[in-house]
């Protein structure tokens, strides 16, 4: 049986960010996605932090710590995403998560500092059908 959630990357940016992470951070990120994919309610995801306030669209924040650094990932749900952004038609039985930005966080400062505005801009591009999504394969065999 498939887990209820499927993860999608905004373009190549999440993969680019992921490849620069330390091994421990990569493993933690994979484990978080693997774990969350099976949890029905997004509010129960172990890394789910909050919905950002003052956004034009519902954008939320994941948090995790690895190799003594704090990481943040901003994301959104599929609702409102333009059909042209998907590589193939979606099935209604699964729920979809879109990862928009990955960044560091320390003492209320995000690095890059424009991470939140970038997430908002990308969410808008998805709404307008001006970006492509790539399915993020959560590797179950490592």
């Amino acid at each position: 049986m498939y887990p209820p959630w499927t993860f999608w990357d905004f373009g190549e940016v999440i993969e680019d960010w992921y490849r620069l992470l330390s091994e421990e951070a990569q493993d933690a990120f994979n484990s978080i996605l693997k774990n969350s994919a099976k949890v029905e309610r997004h509010g129960d995801w172990v890394a789910f932090k909050r919905f950002l306030k003052g956004m034009s669209q519902p954008i939320w924040e994941l948090e995790f710590t690895a190799d003594r650094r704090q990481y943040r990932v901003f994301g959104m749900f599929a609702s409102g995403v333009h059909p042209d952004c998907w590589p193939y038609p979606l099935t209604s039985t699964r729920k979809h998560v879109i990862l928009l930005v990955g960044c560091y966080h320390k003492q209320k400062v995000y690095t890059p500092s424009d991470s939140i505005s970038t997430a908002e801009r990308r969410a808008k591009m998805l709404k307008e059908g001006r970006a492509l999504l790539h399915e993020r394969k959560v590797n179950a065999n490592i």
Partner: protein
């Protein structure tokens, strides 16, 4: 080379890689278990904190991936607050991966001791002789040895009573 093969190659060659891998998986799977149990057994982090004699802020941190470096005593306190046991064992990497793949936070629900029929069941020790010979006692002691600790404790007490009367 696939990501998996690359990773396995690093795991075989580097102790640091192995430590990172183990740490990363535990940093997700321990908080995930704590969150699952807390949500099922306690309404709030504050309620769990009260039972485990920890601050709510600490419980909150323990439910976040990587936010806390757990020590065994902390896990013992949580397990006892949840009224469940705790296993810490060294395993092959394949078993660790299987554990991660099979784990589901939504369905994770170990039985608490109050409902653990297998653990709390009284063992059938047979009638206690009025004059217990050394042989009978030795046999009974052997039988008790296979019982779970809580039962063993109670039964030993009973035997002590027999011996002193």
């Amino acid at each position: 080379m696939s990501e998996r093969l690359t990773r396995i190659s690093k795991l075989r060659q580097s102790r640091v890689s192995r430590a990172s891998y183990i740490r990363a998986k535990l940093s997700v799977l321990i908080p995930s278990q704590i969150r699952a149990l807390r949500q099922k057994l306690f309404e709030t982090q504050t309620a769990l904190g009260k039972e485990a004699e920890m601050k709510q802020s600490r419980i909150s941190a323990m439910e976040r991936p990587g936010a806390v470096q757990f020590n065994i005593e902390t896990l013992v306190r949580l397990a006892s607050a949840f009224k469940i046991g705790l296993i810490i064992k060294f395993v092959p990497f394949s078993e660790m991966l299987r554990w991660e793949n099979d784990f589901n936070q939504d369905t994770f629900n170990p039985v608490a001791i109050d409902d653990d029929a297998e653990f709390i069941a009284e063992p059938d020790l047979g009638p206690i002789p009025s004059l217990a010979s050394g042989e009978v006692l030795a046999e009974r002691q052997q039988n008790l040895g296979s019982c779970e600790p809580i039962v063993r404790g109670a039964a030993s007490e009973l035997m002590q009573t027999q011996l002193t009367h």
